[in-house]
Amino acid sequence: MTSPTGEIYRIDWLPGTDVLHGTCHCGAEHSAEDPIEMWEWMLGHPEGHTQRDPNDPNDSRDRHAPHAPHAPQGNGS
């Protein structure tokens, strides 16, 4: 055990859907339907973690810059 750092990752499974909604400790958000893809995005911080401009209501970008596809991890062992 080490001391808390305040770096909290959060993933909400949205009720009534198969969608996972992730929030990185940096505030970046991302949606996915696969927990492995979600953790890869989350742990890729800061890569691809861009934040929406809260003062710009027209800024509806995905808050997740696309990155190159990679081989799945975690479904094999």
């Binding site: 055990m1 080490t2 001391s3 808390p4 750092t5 305040g6 770096e7 909290i8 990752y9 959060r10 993933i11 909400d12 499974w13 949205l14 009720p15 198969d18 996972l20 400790h25 339907e33 696969d34 927990p35 492995i36 979600m38 953790w39 742990l43 975690g74 479904n75 094999g76 062992s77």
Partner: protein, 354 residues
């Protein structure tokens, strides 16, 4: 050879319940290290030493105590509480290398914690708390079951409670557990994974219906707090459907049960499953106590049987078998990753952070 989760060294692990350690020697194996536990005569302090005599490796846990010293049951090599050999038979000189390792050990919350790793790094302040196990107003039933399975399988099991619906139906499982989405949080630095499942309108499983007397459907909250690698807390709240805590935070109409597990890897493919169920309601009702003890023991044995079977089955798989993870596994995947980090950190030399 099925996948084995590596051990995370430089961590505290529960080795025993406090009531198990006394003036009889107790042997336990933690992270592959055989240990012997006992209490000192005067102050009742717990002692943990390596459980092999330096002479011919006889288990000291199968030996005897002379005061605070262990006398090996084979040839009489005698060790003090620090592990130093203070007597060998037939000669005056005790070889300088005659010493068994002693381990940092802490008694806290009715549990005996042992540090496996570099003793210089052991900080008791980092041991996670489970105060309900040793607090006035709480009653706890407990047990320990050894499982012939990789400890990672038990972590998987406990982090994904959707299995309650299928493996523990008729006890603690109802359809709503598997159907209700979860929220997962990871506190990276603290090594804590939190998984929450809040069911607003659920069937009341027999485990709670018979113990609380609630008739009809319930609001059921399950809030997991996994302090990797060893301590797992499940904060359970049930109440008649629609009954929520008061605005001031008090909750006089909710039933709170703390379900605690200590997940202690024993050896490759073996884990100690310490289980505890604590409640602050109906605390003087012996019938409820015995019901919860028996019912939860049955539930734990369902897990034990399932994990024994799973481990055997994995042992027949070719290397590189595939798994499939879905949304219910979000917390379990987080726990696996935290464990992998702790394993990595424990495998390299560390400097103590002041």
């Amino acid at each position: 050879m099925p996948h084995m989760t590596a051990f995370a060294r430089n961590q505290w692990y529960v080795a025993a319940y406090a009531h198990e350690v006394g003036r009889e020697l107790l042997g336990r194996t933690v992270l592959g290290e055989p240990l012997v536990f006992y209490r000192t005569e005067d102050d009742g302090r717990p002692v943990a030493l390596h459980d092999r005599c330096v002479h011919r490796r006889y288990p000291l846990s199968e030996s005897g105590l002379d005061g605070d010293r262990i006398v090996c049951g084979y040839h009489g090599f005698t060790y003090d509480t620090t592990g130093a050999c203070v007597y060998v038979p037939g000669q005056k000189r005790v070889p300088r290398t005659a010493r068994v390792a002693s381990y940092p050990v802490v008694e806290q919350d009715a549990l005996i914690w042992v540090w496996i790793g570099d003793p210089a790094l052991a900080d008791p302040e980092t041991i996670p708390r489970a105060r309900h196990l040793d607090s006035p107003g709480w009653v706890t039933v407990s047990g320990m079951e050894p499982i012939d399975a990789d400890y990672g399988l038990l972590v998987d099991n406990l982090l994904d409670l959707s299995h309650e619906t299928y493996l523990h139906g008729g006890y603690i499982g109802t359809p709503e557990v598997a159907e209700t989405p979860i929220t997962t949080e990871v506190d990276e630095g603290a090594g804590i994974v939190r998984v929450s499942r809040h069911m607003d309108d659920a069937e009341c499983p027999p485990f709670y219906a018979k113990s609380t007397g609630i008739k009809g459907r319930i609001t059921r909250w399950q809030d997991i707090e996994y302090h990797a690698p060893c301590l797992y807390l499940l904060h359970s709240r049930i109440a008649p459907v629609g009954v929520v805590p008061e605005a001031d935070g008090s909750d006089p109409n909710g039933f709170h049960t703390e379900i605690t597990y200590a997940i202690t890897p024993s050896a490759d493919g073996k884990v100690y499953d310490f289980w505890m169920v604590s409640r602050d309601w109906a605390t003087d009702d012996a019938e409820v106590t015995e019901f919860l003890r028996g019912n939860n023991h049955t539930v734990v044995m369902q897990d034990v049987d399932a994990l024994n079977l799973l481990q055997k089955t994995l042992g027949t798989e070719r290397t590189g078998y595939q798994e499939l993870s879905i949304n219910i596994d979000t917390g379990g995947l987080a726990a696996r990753r935290i464990l992998a980090r702790l394993v990595e950190e424990g495998a390299k030399p560390m400097e103590k952070v002041q």
